[in-house]
């Protein structure tokens, strides 16, 4: 039996078929397979008729998958035998798991678009919440706050992470490098609220209890973003072939110039991709900003003093404390959520484009 048929999972024909039996006897034919799928879909549709519960497309999919798994196992067991029935069941289960996991993703995107689209108007993007009770209001101050805080975070964490990664890859060989690597691992695991509390405690030193500022939020986000930048940069730097470095050294180029002129430009695509993904991660952080930058109703351009609202905090407060009547607050929250998802999607796309454009030819 060739490897191709083995990998496709088709069972071997039984040892001594009579000469008049077709070669594929004892296997599940394609038509039978499709019939089972169709039957499962019908059974799933029947779940809509279950009394007392409202129609639910998610339940339809789940029941269909369940019916398919059971059906394929039973039929395959009768036609093909126990081993192949188990194999078909495993394939069915893996595929079902994948479909089930996609359900929340589709549901989240659908919900946010459906509920947030209504308030994606120009007022939302130009107005603030100053003096707004009930209808209207906007997220301009939150957008500005997000830009300022994220900008400061990137400004602090990118050089920090870049130089640490350079140290780990190019310079560090001993105990210090091992200790730093372990600590970077620990830093990736810090809960976001703990990073926020740290930044708060740090600024309490200088500004006393109850201090709120955009810079404080940026420090918290730096603690969260730097390890991500370090990991991504490290990977990219390690991918640069040693031959490039050694050729540069052989020409008499000093080490720092080699790193700056040879290694970094080669790895820059991957590094920028990693940084973009890290920014996409911290732009949605709410918890650390709750305890550091806080909530403000108006635009605050000063990062070192005063509360500064960011988009996720804006969404949270409009949802948790929508005011009266609540629908306005909820609408604003969903619109902010939709804006966040769009921004993250754009960042992800930018990261992929960067990776493609800046990929050096001949590398991996």
């Amino acid at each position: 039996m060739s490897l191709a048929t083995a990998l496709s999972g088709a069972p071997t024909p039984s040892p001594s078929p009579s000469p008049l039996q077709p070669l594929d006897s004892g296997t599940l034919r394609r038509a039978q397979h499709l019939a089972i799928v169709a039957a499962a879909v019908v059974v799933g549709a029947l779940s809509w008729l279950v009394q007392g519960t409202s129609p639910n497309w998610a339940r339809w999919i789940v029941v269909t998958l369940l019916a398919y798994c059971i059906g394929i196992f039973v039929v395959s067991r009768l036609v093909e035998g126990a081993r192949h029935a188990t194999d078909r069941l495993s394939t069915a289960i893996m595929t079902s798991a994948f479909c089930i996991v996609l359900l929340p993703l589709v549901s989240v995107v659908w919900t946010v678009v459906q509920r947030g689209w209504g308030r994606m108007d120009s007022l939302f993007f130009t107005d603030t919440m100053r003096g707004v009770v009930g209808e209207g209001g906007g997220a301009w101050h939150a957008i500005v706050g997000t830009l300022i805080v994220t900008g400061l975070t990137a400004l602090m964490s990118v050089p920090f992470g870049l130089f640490t990664a350079i140290y780990l890859v190019e310079y560090g060989k001993g105990r210090l490098a091992r200790a730093i690597t372990s600590m970077v691992d620990v830093m990736t695991g810090i809960p976001s609220i703990v990073a926020g509390l740290f930044a708060y405690a740090l600024f309490v030193l200088r500004q006393g209890p109850g201090a709120r500022s955009g810079l404080s939020g940026a420090v918290a986000l730096t603690v969260l973003m730097t390890p991500v930048v370090i990991r991504a940069t490290e990977e990219m730097l390690r991918l640069v072939p040693d031959e490039l470095r050694e050729a540069s050294y052989a020409l008499g180029v000093p080490k720092w110039k080699t790193i700056v002129r040879v290694v970094l430009p080669t790895a820059i695509g991957g590094i920028l991709t990693g940084v973009t993904l890290a920014i996409a991660r911290v732009i949605g952080e709410t918890a650390p900003l709750l305890v550091t930058a806080g909530l403000a109703q108006d635009t605050n351009l000063n990062p070192v003093s005063g509360r500064m609202t960011t988009l996720p905090v804006f969404a949270f407060y409009n949802y948790a404390q929508p005011g009266v009547p609540p629908q306005n607050g909820l609408d604003r929250a969903w619109a902010a959520a939709l804006t966040l998802i769009i921004v993250v999607a754009i960042l992800f796309t930018v990261a992929r484009i960067l990776a493609k454009i800046l990929k050096p030819k001949g590398l991996r």
């Binding site: 495993s90 893996m94 798991a97 919900t111 130089f163 509390l197 405690a201 720092w256």
Partner: protein, 316 residues
């Protein structure tokens, strides 16, 4: 005739050359090393500052409730919710990882894997909004009453089910959705690294695809999956916003996950109470944050230890 080789000598008057770029190397190397040391300093600072701000909690007389009884239900809620999320997420994650690494058609495998990674891109506050306004009502209409009626003898599902659906089970499901991409990504990497020869040997002996996976892939990937699960657990322990938005909290220790009395988690408690707190209450919240830090630190250390031990064991 033998040629004698003379040791070459420098011509007289030659000055030994200075190494090129010495200053630049010193500065650059110093910057890099400084950045690395700053990492250590930062982590030490996190521990120290948290300790400094949390310390008054343990020495004060202003709080009526002892710290242990305050943080006890929170620790229980944190671990319980994270454990439930892990139980839900890990089998699904392993199945999805196997799907993308071994079962899906090769041409579709990469795009399909990308979709799963999109789950990690959604901000946690959006998951909180979705869980609270979509998932909770759906579950409280369709699932929880059924559980309370039919499986109510199990302490987990003791009725009556909360009408709003904002229970620990909903939170656990949302947390599972959030940590699933992490576990899937690590598991998929490990499954893809299974030695090809092992897989082909299994198939050559007539195994079906499932048997091959069971014999060659899963044993090889076991430690990687566990390490990924521990990382997911760490993430679930620290997750704040989804819990804060979805859960309707109470100060209890209870195993009932569909009822109205649900224990809160440390992170969610901090997020909800911090903005309006002042004085010694702030110190107490920071003290609970310190407990959470130690908890996640411990989980991460265990995860790394398993990852390291596992890889050397798998090679052997």
């Amino acid at each position: 005739m033998t040629a004698t080789l003379e040791r070459p000598t420098d011509p007289p008057g030659l000055v030994p050359a200075e190494p090129v770029g010495k200053a630049g190397d010193k500065i650059f190397g110093g910057l890099s090393k400084g950045a690395g040391i700053l990492i250590l300093v930062t982590l030490a600072a996190v521990a120290l500052f948290l300790l400094k701000e949390a310390f008054p909690t343990f020495t004060t007389d202003d709080l009526e409730e002892g710290f242990a009884s305050y943080v006890g239900p929170l620790v229980f809620g944190t671990i319980w919710a994270a454990f439930l999320a892990l139980v839900i997420a890990t089998p699904l994650a392993v199945a999805v990882a196997l799907f993308t690494s071994h079962y899906a058609p090769r041409s579709l495998a990469a795009p399909l894997g990308y979709f799963i990674d999109l789950l990690a891109a959604v901000p946690s506050v959006v998951y909180g909004l979705w869980g609270s306004s979509v998932l909770a009502p759906v579950l409280s209409r369709s699932v929880y009453p059924w559980l309370a009626d039919n499986l109510g003898f199990i302490p987990l599902f003791k009725g009556p089910a909360a009408g709003s659906g904002r229970t620990l089970m909903t939170v656990a499901i949302v947390l599972a959705v959030m940590i699933l991409p992490i576990i899937t990504a690590i598991s998929r990497e490990v499954f893809l690294q299974t030695p090809r020869l092992h897989e082909e040997a299994s198939l050559a002996l007539g195994a079906t695809r499932w048997e091959m996976v069971r014999q060659a892939v899963l044993p090889y990937g076991r430690s990687g999956v566990i390490s990924g699960a521990m990382l997911g657990l760490g993430r679930a322990l620290g997750e704040t916003m989804a819990v804060a938005i979805i859960l309707s909290p109470a100060d209890v220790i209870s195993f009932n996950i569909i009822g109205t009395q649900n224990p809160n988690t440390i992170a969610s408690n901090i997020a909800l109470k911090f903005p309006e707190s002042s004085g010694i209450e702030v110190n107490r919240l920071i003290a609970t944050g310190l407990v959470l830090f130690v908890l996640t630190f411990g989980v991460n250390v265990i995860a790394r230890r398993i990852a390291r031990a596992g890889f050397s064991g798998a090679a052997g």
